[in-house]
Symmetry: C2
Subunit: 493 residues, 2 copies
């Protein structure tokens, strides 16, 4: 029998249930929510009877060791949901009008008889503020809503049974044709729509690759620094990930050492992520020769190659391959929106059967809902217009960032880039003596500026101290203002 | 130097390249396609020069060991794509008008100068015919296209940045609220939208469960017979799968033996898939007690529980759980369409943090495109109307199937079912002496009737011989006709 604190009395019939209440200060849920949730369950389970008097806010706050305002807010929410009611001058009571159906928590609930806000609402998800210099962020304002809405409506209006019946596990065929055409136009690639598999993004592609191309326990080389989700995706599927340091010419097979028994490598040849080097032709040929000799595979991750501002891109690594040893990964996350969850792989022909059989068992991850609309958006030329428009804008934004960087007083060293959506800003020697890039990131965050330290992209020990400044998603004035805030934050030290 | 067959001469400049042609009789691609593809690549790579004469169809057919019609069709396709051209009376030549841009396979291709059908088209995906008695097939004709089209357009018309910016990794909040409400209405469950994670389907959910709930090497019990994709999804994520025979009361923990050190079980308590038993209350309580004692988890797969035709459903297993040891899996594949790739998990509160951290690294699989439309479709009541309408229809279809089964002359023994989308039809003793269910399936297929043998659902040795007859997706006349065809196919033996 729990001791009853005099402050909590009189508890009436609510005491036993209330004594079972507990809060977890380390829980993800707010204390208020935890209290609401438990009391709600007690009421629904009949442990708190209809008409029972609730403890006073002061008493319950004391018992749980929380502030009184937390309990007051919790009571307010329970009342607004129809679980409890205040009676003038005598406190809070479990509502006597909760329909029986609701009380039988395991019974069928009749929607018409429920309290208005049943089921109770949780705190909403709060996205991080969309602010400079978030790496990889696109500008949601630029999304072509009107066209997209029209295309979605048109695709789904007509009862085409292929939209809702059995689906091709490789994706909507017209989309795959449009992707083949896009790759021909933008990357000079010659591939057939039959070789293209629509995915729900990198994680989906890596799952397929890990199970159909490599075998559990195989070693795969990745770039250092590189994309953490890539390393995670490979490792979680049972592969052994070996990071190899990149230099100004990109990924160097020599650095990995001649004795390494890796079965392949995952690379960003167009523009190394995050440092920006373009993999040189000599190194491309060496890599292709390596996989041709060893029977390995190269995974070419080409996630944002459309955003090149000057000069012609090098052709895709895949288009140099004559031995069917390259798998190409593309994505619509950067050129349209990550919320579509649409990307694709281009597979060498000999892998198609195996991947199809695998997908038949595993199931498809990519939704068909947007695929016909996207196919139409691509073949009408609208996507090309959208890319050219955003590319022009992103180029201007990069210029605005570089011009604003004059304010930085030499604290950071920015190098313009011919491509991509962020710049790498090295800490100048003076600043580097005072702090690491992680410390600089913390100072920036205190000033309301989001920067990522290069250290975050290393699997091992970082050997370079820099900040990553994403510019693509933000207006020029916002970028300039954020450079000022960043300068003040770093100079204050 | 390959020997040149006299039939192939004169090869002109095409001989070396053509000698490199090969076909793979076991490949997924048709022989014709393989030939087209290779010749196309030779032309694009410059290995077959413009104006070069192609070998005769007869000569090439002989050399490759394929029929002449195959080569003729391949040549026709190459000509129609603009790669080759026939010259009157003197055979086929590589086109001399292919623009330079196309020939430089690695260069940038100008769309305006391409041959009309570049990139070349592949054979389209041909879905299996939508015919009785495909198990799990829904009727694509019933999909609410008009409403769906309108809701998609409305959701995407307005530039809400939360649609294209950073997304909640658990899914679109209003959809999660609508799902919580749906579960309260249809399954008598009391869960909070905060506990609901929108997934792209079973594979996505199993990936999360395998990495956040269990650990690699853990043993998990599954139903025998059961859903093969479930076993595959668990095993591919490193779990050890132990099938346990179900009986008329569903899954029996006793059968697994008292010494089994499993960490949990995956179950279909509402209606065992594929046999149809409802897990009894006594067994539910025993399972809940087991996981409460051992700290294990039960995965409740409730993929089609909306389709119950008579009687009240037992409450969800999750709603009996007082120890947060049950994970509930739901899906929109059966009640709307599998092409949406939308399902959900209901997670016990203590797992939420871990799953959120995991999804941050792994990435989200479920597309956001349909989520606002689906949320609206649910909260407007349209989904409930759709389910009631299809449920009524499916009940009639089951009746039509059972009434047509009178024609079966006792070859199969059908038992009506109060729920689900298929019936189990045991081979009668007389038929069972003559053939297995797999043989019966083959005979049915020859007659154009799709049935699945129960044997397909067993991980181990089948101990029962039956056919699964899906009825939900097909009209009554079609069902009746198919029963007649099936009867004829089986009686002929």
């Amino acid at each position: 029998m729990p001791t009853v604190d005099p402050l909590v009395a009189p508890l009436g019939s609510a005491d036993a249930a209330i004594a079972a209440l507990s809060v977890d200060r380390l829980g993800r849920q707010s204390l208020q929510h935890q209290i609401v949730r438990q009391i709600r369950q007690f009421i629904l389970a009949g442990r708190l009877r209809q008409g029972a008097r609730m403890p006073s806010t002061r008493g319950l706050a004391h018992e749980l060791g929380v502030s009184r305002i937390t309990v007051t807010l919790a009571y307010d929410q329970l009342a607004s949901e129809g679980y409890t009611e205040a009676r003038r001058g005598s406190g809070m009571y479990v509502c006597s009008t909760i329909p029986d159906e609701v009380l039988k928590a395991t019974g069928k609930v009749d929607a018409r008889k429920q309290p208005r806000s049943f089921p109770p609402r949780d705190e909403p998800f709060v996205p991080r503020p969309h602010r400079p210099f978030q790496v990889g962020a696109i500008d949601p304002e630029l999304f072509p809503h009107a066209t997209w809405s029209r295309l979605l409506a048109r695709a789904w209006r007509n009862p085409v049974s292929s939209l809702t019946g059995e689906a091709d596990s490789f994706g909507w065929r017209p989309l795959r044709s449009a992707i083949a055409r896009h790759l021909a136009d933008w990357r000079g690639m010659d591939c057939d729509s039959a070789e293209i598999v629509v995915t729900s993004g990198t994680a989906d592609a890596l799952d397929v690759i890990a199970h159909c191309v490599f075998a559990a326990g195989d070693t795969v080389l990745v770039e250092e620094p590189g994309y953490a989700a890539m390393r995670f995706g490979l490792a979680k599927n049972g592969l052994n990930v070996l990071p190899v340091r990149v230099d100004d010419e990109g990924f160097d097979l020599e650095t990995a050492g001649p004795r390494v028994k890796a079965k392949g490598a995952v690379l960003t040849p167009s523009r190394q992520f995050p440092l920006g080097a373009t993999l040189t032709l000599a190194r491309r040929l060496r890599l292709l020769d390596w996989v041709a000799r060893t029977g390995g595979y190269l995974i070419e991750d080409d996630f944002d190659s459309e955003y090149r501002y000057r000069g012609a891109p090098l052709p895709a690594l895949m288009s140099l391959d004559r031995n069917e040893r390259v798998i190409y990964l593309g994505s619509f996350s950067k050129i349209l929106s990550p919320t579509l969850r649409l990307g694709f792989m281009v597979l060498p022909m000999p892998l198609l059967d195996k991947v199809r059989a695998y997908l038949r068992l595993r199931g498809v991850a990519a939704s068909l809902v947007a695929q016909p609309a996207l196919a139409e958006f691509m073949s009408s030329g609208d996507l090309a217009v959208h890319i050219r428009r955003t590319r022009r804008l992103y180029a201007q934004r990069q210029e605005a960032l570089i011009s604003a960087a004059g304010m930085l007083d030499g604290l950071l060293e920015l190098v313009p880039s011919t491509a991509g959506m962020h710049l790498v800003a090295d800490l100048a020697p003076g600043l580097r003596k005072q702090m690491t890039d992680r410390v600089a990131t913390g100072l920036a965050a205190n000033a309301g500026v989001i920067v990522r330290p290069l250290a975050d992209y290393f699997a091992g020990r970082p050997d370079r101290s820099a900040l990553l400044l994403g510019f693509a998603g933000f207006g020029e004035a916002e970028l300039t203002r954020s450079v000022r805030l960043l300068t003040e934050a770093l100079r204050r030290q």
